[in-house]
């Protein structure tokens, strides 16, 4: 694959992950993989190389989208025996396998939402920062289906993402207040929990999260506001945080007569110790058990 194509692919995955969260971006990537396989025209000699080349590129995005990596790794193993068949059978089998992976992911995300619903109670004032599509859906479901009365403090950061959150919550009739994230200190006495999502949980007990999350979590931790992290176990990585390729951009800036080079990272790294409750498809894991729980999903070094 050409470097230019790789850069384009990385950026697209990152953009989707940024707006929808890692699980939804993974679902979209698998759906896109299925559609591209259906459209692909190539000879039998090229098919294996093309499939594996794309799988490799998907596994090495910046940052790595861990649920996607797990599912693509499984796909790579399972498709191998079929490469000796004819091209239509390979196509058919690849689509079947990827559809299975998609179903697995959907089921697990559904389970996390289901488990998470029990943490939304009447009278709660929930802080939400750059929520993933799944956390948004959970809040909407709590209000619309379970008729729970709670308030949400939306920490405005990235407008595209905040806009989706505001639109969804307003439509569901959730009482919400929007504040800039730098004004959080004025609302800390009102909030009683913080909901966050993650791209991945690394082997060295870090959480790769959306930019700005680390500051908010730090402030909540200092003020004893419990931090709830919602993530499927597919987000638990076999690698340390240093291998997660968080995208770094250095760009020249020029404001009036002041020139400098600005370095930005696409995601935050957060210490897992700052998370009070981890909610996965297995249910809620309390603070003291989180490290051990995560350990069982990581491979030995």
């Amino acid at each position: 694959m050409k470097e230019k194509d790789r850069r384009i692919l990385n950026k697209l995955i990152r953009d989707h992950e940024d707006v929808m969260g890692a699980s939804r971006a993974a679902m979209l990537a698998i759906e896109s993989f299925i559609r591209s396989i259906q459209q692909l025209r190539c000879s039998i000699d090229q098919v294996q190389e093309l499939y594996l080349e794309l799988a490799e590129a998907i596994k090495n995005t910046e940052p790595k989208v861990v649920p996607l990596i797990h599912l693509i790794e499984e796909f790579e193993k399972e498709i191998q025996p079929y490469f000796s068949e004819d091209i239509e059978q390979i196509r058919e089998r690849a689509v079947e396998l990827l559809t299975e992976k998609l179903d697995v992911l959907r089921t697990r995300v559904g389970q996390v939402i289901e488990k998470g619903l029990s943490f939304i109670n009447k009278g709660d004032v929930i802080l939400v920062h750059t929520a993933s599509r799944d956390v948004i859906n959970m809040l909407v479901m709590a209000r619309e289906v379970f008729q729970k009365r709670f308030s949400v403090l939306v920490l405005k950061q990235d407008f595209v993402k905040t806009k989706q959150l505001i639109q969804a919550l307003t439509q569901a009739g959730v009482d919400l207040t929007v504040i800039p994230e730098y004004n959080l200190s004025h609302c800390l006495d009102r909030a009683n929990k913080l909901f966050i999502g993650a791209v991945s949980i690394t082997r060295d007990h870090k959480v790769v999260t959306a930019i700005g999350t680390a500051n908010i979590v730090g402030l909540c931790h200092l003020n004893r506001i419990p931090v709830y992290l919602f993530a499927t176990t597919l987000k638990i990585s076999h690698q340390d945080s240093g291998e997660h390729k968080i995208h770094t951009k250095v760009e020249p800036m020029n404001h009036d007569d002041c020139a400098y080079r600005l370095t930005t990272h696409s995601h935050d790294l957060l210490d897992l110790n700052l998370v009070d409750v981890l909610v996965t498809e297995d249910g809620a894991i309390d603070k003291e058990k989180i490290a051990g729980y995560v350990q069982q999903f990581t491979k030995p070094t």
Binding site: D5, R6, I8, H16, S36, R41, Y51, V160, K163
Partner: protein, 434 residues
């Protein structure tokens, strides 16, 4: 030609100001009118009589309809659907977007069309790692070609239709064929010259994958507002009504200006939009520019300047109707490429009228020559038509700088090809008519 020196000097000064964009075009035209009024070359009552209100009504009506339709989100939905249909194939992007651009330009103004199409086409092509410039230039050129097909598609046609009294159907019947042939020729030319850039992507799995992700991104980016279906239905219903009334103009007796303004008022009433806000979207400066130009050209006509130009320039070409038609077509085409085609058309109408009186040419062929020349000629340079300027401006906003020469590298040959096609069509039309 009595006392013509002052109006001629004022007219030339206004033209220079317009060409070099020294001041706002409406201010330039109205300042010229004011000078004529102050110097008592013309009085206010006479000046008002020179204004063609039919043209202004048509422009105001269409601008209002387009402003409301844009709010409905219809055009955005349409262009996102087209982006999905292309599935990232570079050739399909060119062809499908060009068809939409041409059709929209025929029924809306060209600037609105490129404002809708250019952002999506840049997002799509640059997201795929293609060069968006070629697509931007193509869409600008295609919008000018598509706009040539109807009375309401391009300002020169609006002016010709209103001032001469030609109907919507006459434009459609007489210009659709050369426009379709020109459209196809332009696409074939773009494809043939850049064949390497239009290679299919369905042999590259990674590219197909990226395109799928990109299309989803475009869907999210452009369709993030909820569509009010009732508002959309009202908007489209009224657009259909306007087209129906344009087509049945000979039966109803309603002029295009009356139809456009009537439908706009119905839309304002039934959609209950904030009228003040909508009126802000009307290009008042364009309407004032038109009014000013009508007065300036009216004064020249009254002073006998137009007749002098017609007799000493255009009527010198001889009696051969084929030559007369070709002169009108090519002079209009070349001049429109370098000067604004709106004042040029307004100036040419009385000249063509005189030519028609001296050498009657059947089936309004001379008017079609003026229309084809003025509209297609706008493609010669990036300053030849408003759609070109707006497209280049939008591309720049998206980080794609297109130079004057870069634009001309594609546009000049397309313009020459389309003018040759128009010449062939008009020659054949005349041959069958004689």
């Amino acid at each position: 030609m009595e006392n013509a020196l002052i109006p001629v000097a004022v007219f030339v000064a206004v033209y220079v100001a317009l060409t070099f964009e020294l001041i706002n075009k409406a201010v330039a035209a109205l300042l010229g009118v004011m000078i004529l009024l102050v110097l008592r070359v013309v009085d206010e009552h006479q000046a008002v009589e020179f204004i063609d209100f039919e043209t202004l009504m048509l422009l105001l009506g269409m601008m209002s309809i387009v402003a409301i339709l844009r709010r409905s989100g219809f055009f955005t939905i349409l262009s996102v659907k087209i982006a999905e249909l292309t599935q990232g194939s570079p050739l399909k992007i060119l062809v499908l977007f060009s068809i939409v651009t041409a059709v929209l330009s025929a029924f809306l103004d060209n600037v609105t069309t490129v404002l809708i199409i250019i952002p999506i086409i840049i997002e799509l092509t640059s997201g795929m790692g293609l060069d968006p410039k070629l697509y931007v230039i193509s869409q600008a050129v295609i919008s000018n070609i598509g706009g040539t097909a109807t009375l309401i598609g391009d300002p020169p046609n609006i002016i010709i239709g209103s001032k001469v009294g030609l109907t919507f159907n006459q434009f459609l019947l007489n210009l659709t064929l050369p426009v379709i042939v020109s459209f196809c020729a332009a696409l074939v030319f773009v494809w043939a010259v850049n064949r390497q850039r239009f290679r299919p992507i369905d042999t590259n799995l990674a590219k197909l994958f990226s395109v799928q992700l990109l299309l989803e991104k475009i869907r999210q980016h452009f369709l993030d507002t909820r569509i009010d279906r009732l508002f959309l239905a009202k908007g489209l219903g009224c657009l259909a009504l306007a087209i129906l009334l344009f087509v049945t103009q000979t039966v109803t007796g309603l002029t295009p200006g009356v139809v456009a303004l009537l439908v706009a008022m119905i839309l304002f009433t039934i959609t209950r939009v904030d009228v003040e806000q909508m009126l802000e979207e009307i290009e008042w400066s364009t309407l004032l520019f038109f009014a000013g130009l009508f007065i300036l050209v009216g004064v020249l006509e009254e002073k006998g300047v137009i007749e002098w130009i017609a007799r000493n320039v255009f009527l010198r070409v001889g009696d051969n109707p084929y030559v007369i038609i070709l002169v009108v077509l090519w002079v209009s085409g070349i001049v429109s490429g370098f000067l604004d085609n709106i004042p040029f058309t307004i100036t040419m109408i009385p000249i063509v009228n005189l030519m028609m009186q001296t050498h009657p040419i059947p089936n309004n062929i001379l008017w079609w020559a003026l229309s084809l020349g003025a509209c297609l000629g706008g493609n010669f340079t990036m300053i030849g038509a408003s759609a070109n300027i707006v497209s280049i401006g939008m591309a720049k906003r998206y980080g794609q700088e297109i130079s004057f020469l870069e634009f001309m590298k594609t546009s000049v040959l397309i313009t020459l090809i389309t003018l040759v096609i128009a010449s062939g069509y008009l020659m054949l039309y005349l041959w069958f008519s004689l």
